[in-house]
């Protein structure tokens, strides 16, 4: 009994982390129609930067925000200098995003070496909290709160601000939005900065659970892809629900079907794609 409760609670917390990872990916995908294959690298680079900020004496939250800011700048640079000129050229986008991920992975290896770097849980959150009949790590519960806060902030931004209205218009129909006088190209930059910043932020927040190591990028990118495929691109609600569904699939799948552990996430992803190519909550096929 306690096993199932533990798995259920953990599914929610993993879902929270996955949402932080994939929200930015989904926004970029939805608006710019770019499968940003550097997203895992943004996550890893953000985590490494966060580890360095921590070493400078910042606390985890400040390190996460500083890392997010740095990643926004880097993401903005990439969008302005590279992706900008590739609108509509999917293959060139694949080439440039994969090329960048090679560069970032090797840069991290040069800069931080190959040894895994731990990110400490903030002192006050190290313990565990009782939940019914189990105790659960406090920090993981905090991640859920952070994910909910980020989701709410994104929702307000998308639904209640002028910028959000423009982004939504862009997601629905970019050429039409352009006709109505929205500067879509500036939107692209903003969304890409935001996506990169969210990835970097997630990397630091996930640090106390995942630590930072070479290969973290390749571990996380497929997860972001799966969440977005399941939830549908460009849909905030889709990314949120997709994250929690994957959280549950991952936890219960690994525990119940250990024989299928290697394919436990790709099998459902394949089924969804076959049955409903636009994802569970997506409005149109990607």
């Amino acid at each position: 009994m306690s096993l199932w409760l533990l798995l259920a609670v953990n599914s929610v917390t993993l879902g929270g982390l996955l949402f932080l990872l994939s929200a930015g990916f989904s926004l970029i995908f939805g608006l710019m129609r770019i499968p940003n294959l550097t997203h895992g690298s943004f996550f890893m680079l953000g985590a490494y930067l966060g580890a360095s900020f921590l070493a400078l004496g910042l606390n985890l939250w400040l390190a996460a925000l500083a890392s997010a800011a740095a990643m926004a700048v880097i993401g903005g640079g990439i969008e302005r200098l590279l992706l900008r000129r590739l609108a509509g050229q999917e293959l060139a986008q694949v080439l440039v995003t994969l090329g960048l991920s090679f560069m970032i992975a090797d840069f991290c290896l040069m800069q931080w070496g190959g040894d895994p770097i731990p990110i400490d849980t903030p002192a006050g959150l190290r313990g565990a909290l009782p939940i019914l009949i189990i105790t659960f790590p406090t920090y993981r519960l905090v991640i859920v709160i952070i994910a909910v806060v980020v989701a709410a902030a994104l929702w307000v931004m998308l639904e209640r601000t002028r910028l959000g209205a423009m982004i939504r218009a862009g997601v629905d129909d970019a050429p039409m939005a352009r006709v109505t006088g929205i500067r879509v190209s500036r939107l692209f930059t903003i969304v890409f900065c935001l996506g990169a910043a969210l990835a970097g932020f997630a990397g630091v927040i996930g640090g106390p659970i995942l630590s930072v190591y070479p290969g973290l990028d390749a571990d996380m990118l497929p997860l972001a892809l799966i969440v977005v495929i399941l939830g549908g691109t460009g849909s905030l609600l889709g990314a949120l629900l997709g994250s929690f569904i994957i959280g549950f699939l991952y936890n219960f799948g690994q525990a119940l079907f250990p024989e299928l552990a290697y394919i436990i996430l790709f099998l459902p992803m394949l089924l969804i794609l076959l049955v409903r190519p636009q994802g569970l909550f997506g409005r149109h096929a990607p």
Binding site: P35, V94, L98, G99, L100, I104, M110, L225, A261, L273
Partner: protein, 328 residues
């Protein structure tokens, strides 16, 4: 005319590789280039001519590799093993195609990625069949007509023959009515349907053709390394094949070959001199996108024509088209 001369020179260069490259190691590198070129040519059928971007082709490459290795290690002769492996690859391609052709665009890419990852997971965990990550050792290379391919030079000629067959098959394919209709499904799928073409069937057959050559490359790879492990099916292998096609230039005959050359040389030769070769390879990809987004081969042709025209008519410089060609 120049075209035929260039072709003859290229052929001559390839045939004489073992003469002017003395060290067997470099002959092996050229063999590797040709093997990956066959894979990239196969993938290019989908990416370049059908407009379907697959991130799961290492799955097809790997299944052929495993099938041949498993059969040969199990005591089968090389010829029946190879024939059966090709049958397996056609069947696998058909299943792959039926599943992934439910979508196009990013959906297609994601389905192929998922199938590729599932095959990779199976190779890791279906230990009874694949040996898990310990892989399968292939005891010998085939010996067609009694000629041993154990050494680098005879093996190179074997690979070269298969490579030339692949190039010829591609050339015929592109010029055939079927090739034309495939390009039609890429550019104008609705119009093709309206004209009475079965777009799905055309794509399906193209997938089989693509899968077949990817499988042939897998067989060669199996003979070359005499070892198969789940690594051949990894997502990174699929991505690498795709990068070869895109960086060289999709929808061209030479592009995938150039891309394969670039990647194999960076990984195996440049890495001996440059410690951070992985960074450099990434940077080269980015540079290709900046300077010749249509890929190395079409981009070089464009730059060459442009500089040629500059030489002849100095004021024609404005004719430079940046970002031309079909890349999307």
């Amino acid at each position: 005319m120049t075209r035929w001369v260039a072709l003859a020179l290229a052929l001559l260069a390839l045939v004489t590789v073992p003469l002017w490259i003395v060290n067997g190691y470099y002959v092996n590198i050229v063999s590797q280039i040709l093997i990956y070129a066959v894979l990239a040519l196969g993938l290019n059928v989908l990416v370049g001519y059908a407009g379907l971007v697959s991130l799961g082709h290492a799955g097809l490459f790997g299944v052929a590799c495993y099938a041949a290795a498993w059969l040969v290690a199990g005591g089968w002769g090389h010829l029946p093993a190879a024939l059966l492996a090709l049958g397996v690859i056609i069947a696998t391609s058909a299943v792959f195609a039926v599943l992934s052709l439910r979508a196009t665009g990013i959906g297609f890419l994601m389905i192929t990625l998922a199938i590729g990852q599932i095959l990779w997971g199976l190779a890791y965990r279906w230990i009874g069949l694949t040996g898990g990550d310990n892989g399968i050792n292939v005891p010998s290379r085939p010996a067609p007509f009694g000629l041993s391919l154990a050494l680098s030079r005879p093996f190179y000629f074997f690979v070269l023959i298969v490579f030339l067959a692949a190039v010829a098959a591609m050339a015929v394919f592109i010029r055939s009515p079927f090739g034309a209709s495939l390009k039609g499904t890429r550019d104008q799928p609705r119009r093709m349907t309206a004209l009475g073409y079965n777009v799905w069937l055309i794509r399906f057959l193209a997938f089989l053709f693509s899968g077949f050559w990817s499988g042939v490359a897998g067989l060669l790879f199996c003979y070359y390394n005499q070892f198969v492990s789940p690594n051949v099916l990894a997502l990174s292998s699929s991505a690498e094949a795709l990068l070869m096609v895109i960086s060289g230039g999709t929808g061209t005959l030479l592009g995938p070959i150039a891309g394969a050359t670039l990647v194999v040389i960076m990984k195996n030769v440049a890495s001996a001199y440059i410690e951070r070769w992985n960074f450099l390879l990434g940077a080269i990809f980015v540079a290709i996108v900046i300077f010749m987004p249509e890929g190395l081969v079409p981009g070089s042709v464009r730059l060459w024509r442009w500089s040629w025209s500059l030489l002849r008519r100095p004021r024609a410089g404005a004719a430079l088209r940046v970002g031309g060609g079909r890349t999307g």
